[in-house]
């Protein structure tokens, strides 16, 4: 019998019954409000020495199921037995699994007595010490040794050198922690001067920026910034402080634009790299990676993705001669218990929980609810409130509105917390002062419940996440933002019929990205996933998904594989009225990418993507692109500055400018303080729609879009924009619902003012400048900050920009700016302004969390906060 056969036999038959028993017992310990069981003491019947031996045999396997069974045995022996020798053996087993964090956790919890090594026999001690050394990596910059698991070790070893690396591992495998450690090590001990960390969402950008700043402490050797401004980049190039720029793909393009592509990035890290397949923004990410590579062909690139099927796909476009390495891990660091909850017939308050694993099922027990769950939202809320009462419970809701309602329901059946924790009070204060006095979040967080969605201001969202991690927020109701790239794990996740975005049933890999967050490695031994109504076809059209990994496919490749769609689209895109083209949104971004590539290379057959598609379809595309390119005078440099915006659109816009009969000054946006500004934006947005791309739809909402853009640019706070909207509704006698109005305003800010408007208005301005130079009106060209950057950050004054350059969130910057009279302060002057008022800041009616951020970012003495 081979080792693999033995392992397989153990799992199937040898210790199956004992495994099922310990699974049932360990899982029951995790859940609250289970009906008591009258059965006999099951753990007494277990042959622990035999089970531990089986566990150690299974630990030698590289199969996920074997490793999981082994970890289950160790966890059970530590938590279910009272025999110190068994517990010690279980800790040794965890060591064999390189799960040192679990040993530390067991010791911290008093489950294993401290000084384990001293209790081991000589041989075992030697073996254990050897393992610890084998599984350690040297952090060059600090000289410290870090204990790691197999994946982390392989990452660290392979990340050295100049090769391109793609690393994939499930959530909760310590990926982000390790990559950030490695990055800092590279910066301090290595050669990298300029690093770009690409995070495909603004939420992840702010999270990574915050993490890096915490890890770096007060070092002045390395700067971290998420603003696409040149100062820190140039200082790093000139030998000053090295810089880590944490950007979305759009921001990397903005920086490359300001530097006219004279951009030299030493190391590019792409986090959540599977998002290269995202609809509409995937190709912008691909373009950003290619652009940075073109600017510095010696750049090293590291791609990180959650559990993916084909991480090697990401490095297939590495420059010629560059070595590529792909590392992949399927290791489980914590036990993940997938359970389904089904109502006991005719007993609406009793729910049967069943554990599922590889086709087998183990009954766990009956969950008792506090109240009758009438309706689906109550069902989700009450089951979550019951099963996860001890906290760390994440609830998945389909949409922001539902998240608010479910959170509200949970809060109503929880016991009140008295007195309210200070940090929760401060978060409630931020919600009231930073959003609206009646924002639903405020009273909920006072009860230890919160909701969370993408369009929330980052300061608020990050504080919610932080307090959820520390346990002060016990229940967090979230939306699909979480799988769009937020690193947040939990103890228990409760879900019913999850959808991604607006209405699409979740694919298995997305579901497992979500479910994989159950189990905080180092904080818990297990994580729980509760799926409600597994047999309901509406909730789960294809049933509860089995474990799955992301297939990585570039958006560009996926669109090209649709067949002749792209060639058809390209042939129509040159027509005078492209608004009639179907599926414009599907093809425009990739179409723009192909056209720019064609303009650069003269044929897309020379591009990297050609190797992935058949020659005939490439030739057909070349033909369509060729006839488009003939009509275009716009230079490839200009087109490349605006990824996702078609060069045909840019050309049409240029022609519209040339044909414009009025005064060219009227083509420019009016100064934001001017009375014309709002109306001018209306006209510009219509012009964009007509000539460039139908970006601002429907037409009836253009006025609203223009209004939000103006207010955002003026540096208004979210609170003020919301208040103005309420005033307007009241003035014209229109009814409104406050939660919807608040969410709607947040969405307008994020999606229009910070996403669509910068993308298309910055292209508009570039073409306009070209036209102004053609007609000899260079005098009208203002070489100040690009409108795209102004819009993304919502700034038009120097003071506000300086505050954000110091690292403040916009919310904090605006709150301070409301108190600062001058609009032209530099960074140093802003620091001086705050220092002069250090004693008075807390009397200025600024929320405590904002004061904390100001203190941390401006490195002020502690008394400012007091």
């Amino acid at each position: 019998m081979s080792l693999a056969d033995l392992q397989s036999w153990l799992l199937q038959q040898g210790v199956r019954r004992d495994l099922d028993t310990i699974t049932r017992l360990t899982v029951r310990n995790e859940l609250d409000n289970l009906a008591p069981e009258t059965s006999v003491n099951l753990s007494a019947s277990i042959d622990w020495p035999r089970l531990l031996l089986a566990g150690s045999i299974l630990a030698r396997s590289d199969q996920r199921v074997d490793q999981e069974a082994s970890l289950r045995v160790a966890t059970a022996a530590i938590s279910l037995t009272n025999d110190q020798a068994l517990k010690d053996a279980a800790a040794v087993l965890m060591g064999k699994l390189s799960n040192f964090r679990a040993i530390t956790l067991a010791t911290d919890r008093g489950l294993v007595k401290a000084g384990l090594n001293g209790r081991l026999g000589f041989a075992l001690r030697l073996e254990s010490q050897r393992r610890e050394v084998d599984r350690s990596i040297l952090v060059q910059s600090s000289g410290a040794w870090l204990q790691v698991n197999d994946f982390q070790q392989r990452f660290w070893t392979n990340a050295a050198g100049n090769s391109w690396l793609s690393a994939s591992a499930p959530t909760a495998s310590g990926k982000t922690f390790l990559v950030l450690q490695w990055l800092i090590d590279q910066m301090i001990a290595g050669e990298s001067r300029v690093v770009v960390y690409l995070a495909p969402t603004r939420a992840l950008v702010s999270e990574i920026e915050t993490n890096l700043k915490e890890l770096l402490g007060s070092t002045e050797l390395i700067e971290v910034s998420s603003l696409p401004l040149v100062a820190k980049y140039k200082a790093a190039q000139a030998g000053g402080a090295r810089v880590i720029l944490v950007f979305t793909q759009e921001r990397l393009h903005l920086l490359a634009n300001v530097l006219s592509d004279v951009l030299s990035v030493d190391l590019l890290i792409v986090d959540e790299a599977h998002k290269i397949g995202d609809n509409q923004r995937g190709v912008i990410l691909q373009d950003a990676i290619e652009r940075a590579t073109r600017a510095n062909p010696k750049m090293k690139a590291v791609f990180i993705s959650p559990a993916t099927q084909n991480p090697e796909e990401l490095i297939t476009d590495a420059p010629d001669g560059v070595k590529t390495i792909s590392i992949d891990s399927d290791a489980s660091t914590v036990l993940q218990n997938l359970m389904v909850a089904t109502q006991v017939p005719r007993k609406s308050k009793r729910w049967k929980l069943t554990f599922r694993q590889q086709g087998s099922e183990i009954p766990i027990g009956i969950l008792q609810l506090a109240s009758t769950p009438a309706g689906l939202k109550k069902r989700l809320a009450f089951i979550a409130a019951a099963v996860g009462e001890r906290g760390g419970t994440l609830v998945y809701a389909n949409g922001a509105g539902e998240a608010e309602e479910v959170a509200d329901l949970i809060s109503q059946i929880l016991p009140k917390l008295e007195p309210i924790d200070l940090e929760l009070t401060q978060l409630a204060e931020l919600a009231r002062k930073g959003v609206h006095n009646d924002f639903r979040l405020a009273p909920l967080v006072e009860l230890g419940v919160a909701f969370h969605y993408g369009n929330m201001p980052s300061l608020l969202r990050l504080e919610i996440e932080r307090l959820f991690r520390t346990g002060k927020i016990r229940f967090l109701v979230c939306t699909s933002t979480l799988i769009e790239g937020v690193n947040l794990s939990c103890r228990t996740i409760v879900v019913r019929g999850p959808r991604k975005g607006k209405g699409h049933p979740m694919e298995p890999h997305d579901f497992w990205n979500l479910a994989g967050r159950a189990g905080r490695w180092g904080d818990e031994f297990q994580g729980n996933i509760i799926c409600i109504d597994p047999e309901d076809k509406q909730a789960w059209p294809a049933g509860v998904p089995s474990r799955a990994r992301y297939p990585i496919k570039r958006e560009s490749d996926a669109v090209l594989e649709l067949g002749d769609g792209m060639a058809d689209y390209l042939s129509k895109r040159g027509l005078s009225d492209p608004s009639s083209i179907e599926d414009m949104n599907k093809f425009e971004q990739v179409g723009a990418y192909l056209l720019t590539t064609f303009m650069r290379l003269g044929s897309i057959s020379a591009a990297s993507l050609a190797k992935r598609h058949d020659a005939a379809s490439i030739a057909k595309l070349d033909q369509a692109l060729g006839s488009l390119a003939e009509q275009i005078e716009i230079s490839v440099e200009l087109a490349a500055r605006h990824p996702g915006v078609s060069a045909v659109g840019l050309q049409r816009l240029l022609e519209a400018f040339r044909a414009y009969p009025g005064d060219v000054e009227n083509l420019l946006p009016a100064e934001v303080a001017s009375n014309d500004s709002y109306d001018r934006f209306i006209t510009i947005m219509r012009r964009v729609n007509e000539h460039l791309f139908l970006a601002f739809t429907p037409d009836t909402r253009i006025k609203l879009y223009a209004l939000v853009v103006v207010k955002w640019l003026k540096g208004y706070s979210l609170t003020r924009i919301i208040r103005d909207s309420i005033d307007w509704h009241q003035m014209v006698g229109r009814s409104y619902k406050l939660p919807e109005l608040i969410r709607g305003t947040m969405e307008l800010v994020e999606q229009i003012a910070r996403f669509r408007a910068p993308k298309y208005l910055s292209a508009y301005m570039d073409v306009l400048h070209l036209h102004l130079r053609e007609v000899g009106r260079d005098d009208l060209i203002d070489d100040g900050m690009d409108i795209g950057t102004q819009l993304e950050f919502g700034v038009s004054s120097t003071t506000l920009l300086s505050l954000m350059e110091l690292g403040l969130s916009r919310m904090s910057a605006v709150a301070l700016y409301e108190k600062i009279a001058r609009d032209d302060l530099s960074r140093e002057e802003c620091i001086a302004w705050v220092n002069e008022r250090a004693g008075q800041i807390h009397a200025m009616d600024i929320p405590a969390i904002i004061i904390r951020e100001v203190r941390e970012r401006l490195a002020l003495p502690d008394e400012v906060a007091k």
Binding site: P661, G662, D663, E665, N666, A670, N675, D676, S677, Y678, D679, R680, F681, I682, T683, I684, R686, K703
Partner: protein, 97 residues
């Protein structure tokens, strides 16, 4: 009723209706948010001075004119005053008095 002629700066219209039509055509040549050009501004200035509420509308003095949105989705001329304030005015009211 005989047609009433009107003189607005260098322009002479045989009928007030003609002046209104001329100004409306002018309005139509602009997009919202546009600053009115210097030539057109001469006529607009004369029209505004003819407004029954001219003194109040002109206030601190005329800087220039813009075309902007007004109530219920309509568009009209606005006078931008020297002190930075602005106010809309109606073509018809300026001419008919």
């Amino acid at each position: 009723m005989p047609a009433k002629p009107i003189t607005l700066g260098p322009f002479h219209f045989k009928r007030r209706g003609d002046a209104i039509a001329f100004l409306k055509a002018m309005l139509g040549r602009y997009d919202v948010g546009d600053r009115v050009n210097a030539d057109d501004a001469v006529l607009l200035r004369a029209a505004l001075e003819n407004h029954p509420d001219a003194a109040k509308k002109i206030g601190s003095g005329i800087q220039d004119f813009s075309v902007r949105t007004a109530d219920f989705g309509s568009r009209c001329f606005w006078v931008n005053r020297s002190d930075g304030t602005t106010e809309k005015f109606s073509i018809t009211a300026s001419i008919r008095g």
